[in-house]
Symmetry: C2
């Protein structure tokens, strides 16, 4: 048995926790050692992931908890809403499960965000464990304690900062991931280069083909390095008072695309990929990076099989959607701009400049 890679998120008040990364972790009893004691555990998953991994996880947890339930929600971003979340609450309350019950989020970003929000709010907080089964969740959404559901008027608008007690990224679960979702996960991996680590961007460019063909050693490194960068940022700014916002590079336009098309039309990673191209162009027009950097990022994203051109939503509609972005302030839309490869910052950007970029990239 190979020992997992471990990345630690440093947090105050005894809330720090481990991200364990490795192949086969789901089947190893060591994965569950040291979790909070409780009389019951509930695996929250979706109808796609449940037939693949829920039984394996249930068997493992049955050695730790007297009772293990499985709640399988419908799959997809369009179900990241209150009525679907309420199915988790209904189950917990119908079964009279107490406030020591441990929730396990088995799935991708939607399941992780929803289970985390359920854990944050059920009886004002129960412990939860992230078991991400998509690349995107393993490198980004399962780490750092952002939990949320969507509102018809905006993505992730209702949520909480609430940390898991552990993250367990079993690389073997990526074997069953559709290609489209693998590529969407690569978008968030690519993100870490421009915002924090120029050498990692070089590495991704050099190893893209291997990552796309699911070379497990390469994936292991990409997941670990991504988690290290995220852990470093979250450890410095858990509640996004400042620095943490850089993790949202590409997300301002990305969220507008997702909301504008209807959740689930484009995958989150696809929307972020396209958003990064436009945000890089904005950074260039603001004088921070040369045009060559925009082209370099566009080329990498294109090679990863991800979209570089936004859908034709109309410029005004895009701006309107961006004004409800969580980073907006007093009506100003704020963007994560690249200020040099490996260095990013959050800045208000005038509407007319955003409109020009949207138009020039075909969103108008």
């Amino acid at each position: 048995m190979q020992l997992p890679d471990v990345v630690r998120i440093p947090l105050p008040e005894g809330r720090d926790y481990e991200i364990r990364i490795g192949a086969g972790l789901l089947g190893q009893s060591a994965s569950w050692a040291g979790l909070p004691r409780a009389s019951a555990a509930v695996i929250v998953t979706n109808e796609t992931v449940a037939p693949l991994y829920a039984e394996r996880l249930r068997e493992q947890l049955a050695a730790v908890y007297a009772r293990v339930d499985v709640v399988a929600l419908p799959d997809g971003e369009s179900f990241k809403d209150w009525p679907t979340l309420n199915r988790v609450f209904d189950h917990l309350l119908q079964e009279a499960l107490d406030r020591k019950t441990v929730l396990f989020a088995l799935g991708g970003g939607v399941i992780g965000d929803m289970t985390g929000f359920a854990a944050a709010t059920y009886m004002r907080g129960v412990p939860f464990v992230q078991v991400p089964t998509t690349l995107l969740a393993q490198v980004d959404s399962s780490v750092g304690g952002k939990t949320a559901i969507n509102h018809p008027l905006g993505k992730n608008m209702l949520g909480a900062f609430y940390q898991p007690v552990r993250v367990l990224a079993d690389l073997d679960t990526l074997d069953t991931l559709p290609d489209r979702e693998l590529r969407a996960g690569l978008a968030e991996i690519i993100k870490y280069g421009p915002i924090a680590d120029a050498a990692f961007l070089d590495w991704i460019e050099d190893n893209l083909a291997g990552l796309l063909s699911r070379d497990k050693a390469l994936l292991a490194y990409a997941v670990r390095r991504s988690c290290e960068i995220k852990a470093d940022v979250v450890g410095q700014d858990e509640r996004e008072q400042g620095l943490r916002a850089i993790l949202n590079f590409g997300h301002t336009i990305g969220h507008a695309i997702e909301a504008g098309l209807g959740y689930g039309e484009w995958l989150h990673g696809e929307a972020v990929a396209c958003g990064m191209v436009l945000a890089a162009d904005l950074s260039c027009r603001l004088g921070f990076v040369p045009q060559a950097f925009v082209e370099r990022l566009r080329s990498l994203i294109q090679r990863a099989g991800l979209p570089v051109q936004p859908p034709q939503l109309g410029v005004e509609r895009c701006l309107q959607l961006m004004r409800v972005d969580k980073k907006a302030e007093a009506g100003d839309i704020r963007f994560v701009v690249i200020e040099g490869v490996g260095c990013a910052g959050l800045r208000p950007v005038p509407d007319d400049l955003i409109a020009a970029v949207l138009r020039d990239h075909g969103a108008g």
Copy 2:
């Protein structure tokens, strides 16, 4: 202008805050000094309180915030639910209000709990101020950061620990409080005696008539002493890992009565009053306090015009409702028992003993 009484809640990470208590605070500009800056404030209130105080508060806040909105929800415990809460989110998002927006909870416990939960979850957290206008909210629910909504299967089952940035208890707002609600507030004041302060229990007994006739000096002392006790407990145990549970004296049976009759049938304070009588009897049967203490508490509660006999819900139904209580663990119902006047603890109590008490008091 008389300076307000100030009670401070000590909390880590810069989250400590002031409870200001006094007559006329709503009309004093000093009340708003030092609150977080923002471009907008939203007053969340209900349709009963809005015509009485919303305009006065709006005018005050207009000197501080460029924009001040009012959202008035329907009044009552039966509206402490997700669809009603969502009206607040709809407003915030339709108006594209950003994550610095400050929410003001103007009303009783239901408005305070709901506004607090909205503040805890809108964009993962915005600041909020409690402006309690009922005695119950001033002495209990507005203080300490417990926020929640009800679920059809249990009271306050969905919520968060999320602290306000200030509590402003204007005693003048009690002038418009119906007698029934004044008495319900007295129930939570009485509570602080048995659990924490024998001398305060004596004081309440001596001054009950004056409190019932709304003597402002007596009310001011009762509110301040209640807040001091609560601040002390919450400062030691914000997230109810242990000690804080004593604040739930009378609430295990109280919550069952509220849920069993349908929310709003009995006021929360009425249900708690009755719950305290039964919990005192339990404490007596467990050998902690003499029968004389049970009679003493029953007599005080009766003099306050509060119910001492539970509705006939049936013993089994009561037990079932108590098993989903947040303090229950692994199926055991746990009670706050009085271990001596001014001293309480949380203990599991066998079902048959609870059943006997319920039966003997007429719930069966």
